[in-house]
Symmetry: C2
Subunit: 254 residues, 2 copies
């Protein structure tokens, strides 16, 4: 008998941006595994999901703590504890749904867990329930197209220098900069040099009650930034139905 481990994305923040499949998967799971940053953290992912799931008789809610740190001395014991909690449940044939904010395969804890399955939980079947990620939730919040026609998209975590960022800004039409809180000065500098500051918008906690949109990036101080933030840069040099480019781009209409 072997269990199933399902990575379930609950979307960007608004509970009604969960998919029908995510809700159904969580309602039918034997165990909902809920990652949190500390024992004092309610878990954003669970806050998104819980009212949609409701009370399910006999269902276990298993909180797993993954501290927000780069220190392996603190991380490894946390992961070992998570493996130790999950292994007997999967070995007993249970259906374990591991929830993640956003999508399970975009910068999420589930990616690390999925990689461990063959060694840690042999025989376990895995599934992924994709979700609305910030890659589409942020553009929807500001109603700016991610890409039309022939446009190219780049998504970067905040690990770039100014030169590196400049090259990507030149090569791509739409650039999504994830988790920008620590690097706003570099971002503003690169955008300014490329003349793209007015094509950029800062969005944090898109789709939640705490959504914030800032269109003048110069006004952002570090204390206003948020871990769940993104800068979207849409150059829009090439697009526009009425800009004479319609004939070239309409092939992607669907």
């Amino acid at each position: 008998m072997s269990g199933v481990l399902i990575g379930v994305g609950v979307g960007p923040g608004a509970p009604d941006l969960m998919t029908l499949r995510a809700v159904n998967t969580l309602r039918s799971a034997d165990v909902i595994a809920i990652p949190r940053r500390s024992v004092y953290d309610e878990s954003l992912a669970w806050r998104i999901a819980k009212d949609n799931v409701g009370e399910v008789p006999g269902q276990e809610r298993l909180f797993l703590t993954f501290p927000m740190t780069k220190d392996p001395e603190r991380l490894r014991p946390a992961w070992e504890e998570a493996y130790a909690q999950l292994a007997p449940r999967l070995a007993a044939g249970k259906k374990v749904a591991f929830i993640t904010e956003g999508d399970p395969l975009v910068y999420s804890t589930f990616i690390y867990l999925l990689a461990e399955v063959p060694q840690r939980f042999p025989g376990t079947r895995t599934e992924v329930v994709p979700a609305v990620s910030s890659i589409t939730a942020v553009p929807a919040a500001v109603q700016i197209p991610v890409a039309d026609g022939q446009e190219r998209i780049a998504v970067l975590p905040a690990t770039y220098g100014v030169e590196d960022l400049t090259r990507v800004l030149r090569d791509f039409d739409t650039v999504l900069l994830m988790k920008v809180s620590s690097v706003m000065p570099q971002v503003v500098e690169a955008l300014e040099r490329e003349g793209l500051l007015d094509r950029a918008v800062y969005v944090s906690r898109a789709s939640t009650g705490q959504e914030k949109v800032v269109r003048d990036l110069r006004s952002i101080r570090n204390d206003k930034c948020d871990y769940f933030s993104m800068v979207m840069v849409a150059k829009k040099d090439r697009s526009g139905v009425l800009a004479g480019r319609f004939a070239q781009t309409a092939e992607v209409a669907r």
Copy 2:
């Protein structure tokens, strides 16, 4: 009195990958505007949505035909007809939900419509309901992470040459090549030269009953390709919890 035009993404294909908000928005709309390629086309987006929406008394279903062509002589009249159909409904204060397969802001017809709103439908309020796009649905189908930790993602439509593609493959960790059907020979050539052919997978119609996954790209002939197809290339040079990089990447855990 002014209406509201809502771009509603219905997701990648499986009806249960629609969001709760998409279903609720479509159920409460006065008009569901349904783009299709021809009068003989049932509309993939509507096929995804219709059973979730069901029969709504008094609701209008307005089919709009956008031919799959680059010929402006055929496209312009189709768009003029769409504007002519939508304008009186919006002017009458109706809530019009325009459905799109995937996400409304990722390579979709809604992008062109949204751009026309100020001129064509003055006073109309607009909204976007984001959806699961192929950017996360394809990775979920093959259970390959889009990006973890410090990884970078590029999404390109099929308009590149081999040199151009080679550069992107070198600069990014995960590359998603959209609508590859017309350019498979170039894709295979570039991947082969970069030694990445075994890191690439072809997926068409992810999440639908017609989903197809091909791991040996050399075996693909043009007649096997599909308009709704993607090649996902995941280099995975930098990732891995147990590969000693965990301490650097765990900061993105959530």
